[in-house]
């Protein structure tokens, strides 16, 4: 019995090690290439070899540095505003009973099926009409709007999983809906909100097309990285160094929010 248990343990460790290695390979390759010049890149990408080209990091930094501040600010505003709006909407959908609730929610969910790229030009026209092109709000407002459907869908599912008795008890103690939202729904949803924070920040961090077209003076990191991507002669070392530098803030975010992320994912809410 003990032997079988040890074998199972060894098998588990082996499987997890192999899986972790497979997941980490792209990161390792990114780091490895970030120290190479073009000749070294064409020879071998899997391990770094001397001479190490640290100047790639200077080129990568030059590409992303002007945009890091913008991106952090936009990500912060979008995350805060978006989650505030979507959690309130989700609370209403999960706790209020009003005529047409299901139909309205279904209409909202249908929007998930429209590929974002199809909306690019109409969105741009809307941004022009709103007068927000070339301002930070051209990014923030549209990102917030764009995130709503998914966030409302996920949060509503999560809120519905919170035992109804908790809300009823609060009601009996005289708590109104605002109080129930603030003191019950939100604190019990920390894990899923953590997941959504990470998803929103990654979304803002990685988006390229919208900042490209709408924000001349307020572009984000992915736009900076596009200066390193070339049609025929990409300097892969500098590009990977840029990717490495651009991913550092996300790594910091993950370090802080990992616990919530794991809890949120394991709670099954985002599979709802």
């Amino acid at each position: 019995m003990a032997l079988r248990s040890t074998r199972a343990e060894v098998a588990k460790v082996v499987v997890l090690t192999v899986t972790a290695a497979a997941v980490l390979v792209p990161f390792w390759v990114m780091l490895s290439i970030s120290f190479k010049d073009q000749r070294q890149f064409l020879r071998n990408i899997f391990y770094p070899a001397p001479p190490f080209h640290w100047e790639n990091y200077a080129a990568g930094w030059e590409a992303v540095a002007p945009y890091v501040g913008n991106t952090i600010l936009v990500a912060f505003l979008v995350t805060a505003i978006s989650l505030t709006c979507s959690s309130l909407t989700a609370y209403v959908f999960s706790r209020y009973d009003f005529p047409g609730r299901r139909a309205l929610f279904a209409a909202l969910i249908v929007l998930l099926m429209i590929p974002g790229v199809l909306n690019l030009i109409p969105q741009y026209v809307l941004a022009l009409k709103l007068g927000v092109v070339n301002t930070i709000w051209g990014l923030v407002l549209f990102y917030v709007a764009g995130r709503q459907v998914l966030e409302v869908y996920i949060l509503r599912s999560f809120f519905q999983g919170i035992p109804r008795e908790l809300f009823e008890a609060a009601q009996m103690d005289g708590a109104g809906h605002v109080r129930q939202y603030w003191s019950i729904a939100l604190p019990l949803s920390k894990s899923i909100i953590g997941v959504l924070v990470i998803m929103t920040v990654i979304f803002v961090w990685n988006d390229f097309i919208w900042p490209l077209v709408v924000a001349d003076d307020f572009k984000t990191v992915s736009y900076g990285l596009s200066f390193l991507t070339k049609q025929h002669s990409t300097a892969w070392g500098a590009l990977m160094a840029g990717y490495t530098l651009a991913s550092l803030p996300l790594l910091v975010l993950f370090a802080f929010a990992m616990r919530y992320f794991v809890e949120g994912v394991s709670s099954g809410a985002i599979k709802a």
Binding site: Q38, R39, L42, R43, P66, Y67, V68, G69, N70, I72, L73, V74, F76, L120, I121, Y124, V125, L128, V133, N134, I136, F208, I209, L212, V213, V214, D216, D217, F218, K219, G224, S226, F227, T229, K230, Q231, H232, S233
Partner: protein, 556 residues
């Protein structure tokens, strides 16, 4: 609020003022920020190639020695997302005056979206920087073949340079296999690959994935060397020695050409024969990976463009050779009938209509003419080696191997359904079939039968699309002609000496030139519409009822 919550809010309060000053930074200035009547905005993606931005800046300095009052703002926008960036900028009324665009994008933004200025009329006029010549006459004639809009007949872009495709080879592997010279004919080419294979090398690294196939350029090369004799029978609209998209679609529709014709089938057959020497798994190989393999000595040859020659030479540690696509001769197929013709992959520029709205169109056109002048090319060559699209401009010594073969008749490609509507459906289907065909899993007949239904349907749809657009064009040009006529009528009576220096006479001559040009455009559009009407007045050849032989009387 609890103490932890207060701490978090505190962090936000501290961080925001820190972030606000560092935000708002942006490297390139917005294209339109400084756009006014004295500032020309010139947007390009060529900054990704070393030397080009400095070269363009030097050209601008050269222009400003003539016109110091004119400001020109060079705006570098990376290629990724360039076209969508340009489109949205124009949509917002903020685009660049002069913009680097591919031909397909220019047709879309020019003809369909109306953001670009047709340059056709300007190209007919003399350029002050090439005295005695119309602007367009300074260029290789072949560059205009790709550039002309097949429906509207307009030129939306002016080509600037030539990029050409070549076959790069590992000279050390060639020597090891006993090859002393690069092949010049298709037969020698296949023999060389046989020799390389026998010597244990992978002869050719051919990428053929969905977005990265060099099989299509190969089809174009081979097509030009095989379809020349078909041209007179297909060039029925304007008899200009080339088969344009409408002529090819009409030929498919009317049955003047068919995929099952032996000349047409000869092209994929030659490529299938060649594919015996390609690396295994070529259907999963993309261009980037083929370069990596070549640089590592895995593969003796691979195809790439002059754009990558310099970087490649720096990246390999063996002797590198270059040769053009070998010529197909009758030793390889009885249908070989023409010389090699280099397709042109150009950097080209277009003018936004916004230049007119900003009130400096004439200045923009003048700068554009300067940009494409020999003088500007002299300046630019101090910064970059490039093959100019100007016919008389010398090819730099380091790029001699890439000098384009031009001036031969353009044959047209029966394997492509010319896509005026911008559909890429035919290409995607053809690639999928070719992948199977070249892997040996599809016969000639299977290739034809697999492609033919879509090919026919698209040819028909494209003709109807072209007819609709052409009818619209005829109305539009007729309206323009009326306007010009009204303008001529409104001018004061002609002076005694119509060729004199009187400003009214000069204006009258200029408007008369415009009238002549508009009349020519109308005539051309009218001819095209009549051709389309005539073609579409009959059903497609595949729907024509073939007379059936009379039934034999039954013996019972």
């Amino acid at each position: 609020m609890g103490s932890r919550a207060r701490i978090r809010v505190g962090w936000v309060v501290i961080l925001l003022p820190v972030l606000l000053p560092v935000s708002g930074c942006s490297r390139p200035e917005a294209a339109e920020e400084t756009a006014d009547a004295t500032t020309i905005v010139f947007a390009t993606h060529m900054g990704e190639h070393p030397g080009w931005l400095d070269g363009f800046a030097a050209v601008i300095r050269g222009y400003r020695t003539r016109y110091p009052e004119v400001n020109i703002k060079l705006h570098y926008q990376p290629l990724a997302g360039f076209a969508i960036w340009a489109e949205t900028q124009y949509l917002g009324g903020r685009g660049p005056d002069l913009v680097g665009l591919g031909v397909g994008e220019a047709h879309r933004l020019g003809a369909r979206q109306g953001y670009l200025l047709p340059l056709t009329e300007y190209l007919q006029e003399e350029s002050p920087y090439t005295p005695g010549h119309r602007w367009m006459d300074s260029f290789y004639p072949v560059v205009w073949v790709n550039v002309q809009d097949p429906i509207y007949g307009e030129y939306w872009t002016v080509p600037f340079n030539f990029f050409t495709l070549r076959i790069f080879y590992n000279a050390e592997q060639f020597a090891a296999a006993g090859l002393t010279e690069a092949p010049t004919t298709w037969k020698e080419f296949l023999e060389a690959q046989e020799q390389l294979q026998e010597a244990g090398f992978v002869p050719f690294l051919m990428p053929n994935t969905s977005s990265n196939s060099y099989v299509f350029p190969s089809i174009e090369y081979l097509g030009d060397m095989i379809f020349q004799s078909l041209t007179p029978g297909l060039d029925l609209l304007d008899h200009n020695g080339k088969v344009d998209g409408i002529e090819m679609n009409a030929a498919i529709y009317s049955g003047r050409i068919s995929l099952a014709d032996p000349e047409v089938l000869a092209v994929p057959q030659l490529i299938r024969e060649w594919s015996r020497y390609w690396i295994r798994g070529f259907n999963g190989l993309d261009r980037g990976l083929s370069k990596v393999l070549f640089a590592n000595g895995i593969g003796s040859m691979y195809m790439d463009g002059s754009w990558d020659a310099e970087a490649l030479a720096r990246s390999v540690n063996f002797e590198l050779g270059v040769f053009p696509m070998p010529t197909v001769t009758t030793e390889s197929t009885p249908y070989a009938d023409g010389p090699r013709n280099d397709n042109n992959y150009n950097l080209s520029f277009a003018v936004g209509k916004i230049a007119r709205e900003r009130g400096h169109l004439d200045q923009v056109i003048d700068f554009f003419r300067y940009l494409t002048s020999p003088e500007a090319a002299d300046t630019l060559t101090q910064y970059v080696a490039f093959i100019s699209a100007l016919e008389d401009y010398p090819v730099p010594r380091e790029l001699e191997a890439f000098a384009p073969a031009t001036g031969h008749p353009w044959s047209g490609y029966p394997w492509y359904v010319a896509q005026q509507s911008g559909s890429s459906e035919a290409r995607a289907r053809l690639l999928a079939l070719l992948q199977t065909y070249l892997a040996g899993e599809l016969s000639d007949q299977g290739l034809v039968e697999g492609y033919q239904p879509l090919y026919r349907r698209l040819a028909e749809e494209e003709l109807h699309y072209a007819r609709r657009e052409n009818a619209r064009l005829v109305k539009e040009v007729a309206g323009r002609l009326q306007q010009v006529d009204a303008l001529i009528d409104s001018l004061p009576p002609p002076p005694a000496d119509p060729d004199g220096a009187d400003p009214v006479a000069s204006e009258r001559r200029q408007i008369q030139r415009r009238r002549d040009f508009t009349q020519k455009s109308l005539d051309k559009a009218g001819r095209q519409l009549a051709f389309l009407d005539s073609t579409l007045s009959r059903p497609p050849v595949w729907e024509e009822i073939t007379p059936q032989p009379p039934l034999e009387p039954r013996g019972d």
